[in-house]
Symmetry: C2
Subunit: 279 residues, 2 copies
Amino acid sequence: MSEHLRRLSLNQKTTNAWSLKEAVDGCLRHGIQSIGVWREPVADIGLDKAQRLIRDAGLRVSSLCRGGFLTAEGAAARQHALEENKRAIDEASALNADCLVMVVGGLPLGSRDLPAARSRVADLLDELVPMAADQGVRLALEPMHPIFTADRGVLATLGEALDLAEKYPAETVGVVVDSFHVWWDPQLEAQVARASNRIASFQVCDWITPLPADTLLSRGIMGDGHIDFHHHYDLVTRAGYHGDIEVEIFNADVWAANPDTVLALIKQRTLTQVLPPTT
Amino acid sequence: MSEHLRRLSLNQKTTNAWSLKEAVDGCLRHGIQSIGVWREPVADIGLDKAQRLIRDAGLRVSSLCRGGFLTAEGAAARQHALEENKRAIDEASALNADCLVMVVGGLPLGSRDLPAARSRVADLLDELVPMAADQGVRLALEPMHPIFTADRGVLATLGEALDLAEKYPAETVGVVVDSFHVWWDPQLEAQVARASNRIASFQVCDWITPLPADTLLSRGIMGDGHIDFHHHYDLVTRAGYHGDIEVEIFNADVWAANPDTVLALIKQRTLTQVLPPTT
């Protein structure tokens, strides 16, 4: 394993066919030292077992995916979102995750009131921040590509995420810089610089065209699309980020491939497409 | 025809199966007083004939689509883009169009240098503005939804379009506010207000989910998706825009329907979904 890859983290969605145990074993087999885990596969084996598994393997947990979904209307939905996020915060704490990724949710069914959905996010965040601070968990607000504004994440730009985050201490509320979600933004350079010590997670995967029919599975392996990852690496590095580089790929073809082949490929592509050339 | 619909314009892409003559006849049959035309169907019958056809019908021309595609690399491509846009400007002048819609183009094949592509747009615009001013034509920069940044339009936000436009007189360089392209933007309210007398065109069509497999044909009829058009109407009106409201829908189902049925439907939806309720 190249020393250059010591910051590589496997988000387990990239190897979607694998259980958490298989993903942890895969990381060990490939010399990957960090993992981004999802709540559902953790729940499949139980939090205690997941915790032991990861600790015994000596892996860092670069992120827990995901909290959020804060946009539903009404008191009952609000209460449900708070409880669900409280559980996610507890899990992030137990797993010693660097952050809990927050996908804030889209427009409620039948609603067209985007400003109202956004203000519900701000409102619930206000309640969640003290819970996260109590547990020493960092919430990482994830701006999502505007292709997902309607149905997944009303937080559409890094600037908007920072406007929200900056009301709270940086150690409790950060942001995710996910190349796929932010690469198109004309303010990318300025907003990554502004993000500075708020960058809680740096995720990479490519924007490919033509876009696959299922937009949720439209993410490519670095180098297969249009994103200049070296540029993004430079931006987050200059902003002071030196944490893990998490590869998170939702793609039906990648999921259908042999996960060991995928791990070998993302290691190679991280070296050639993301990290600066070694001289 | 309701007086309330006097500002409705049919962008002829909405009735893609119709020739320009059929679209003009359709407008007359349905009492629609304005049309947005495309260069290709104009070329099909020749500019002089198109000009007479529209003038004799007494229709306004709310826009000519389209100029742009300014991002290609190299001197030959640059020269080609200038010549093509010069022709488009001449046509917009001949047709007495309110504006020439500028779709600026995506990343050149194989390039990942988004800032460079954007700076080529600024560079060519600098040459095109005097040509447009000479002909009394208004260029309308169209920010496109970030789903199209890679392959169609590197201009991704209204703010970015205004940064470009504001270097020139408002009567020569304006912007398009197309609901489909800008609805997700957290800065929408601020940027439409800023746009003020630069709003050269207000286009409407809906963001629908799930997104159709061909993203180019993913636009819905107003009311079928997630956009609050009343809100957009209020924003552009408060910004001082009182021009045409152009319905431009790229959608395979709409294109397969009887165009007369489509015209009746967009009239109804413009009344119920876009214009303020009559009291």
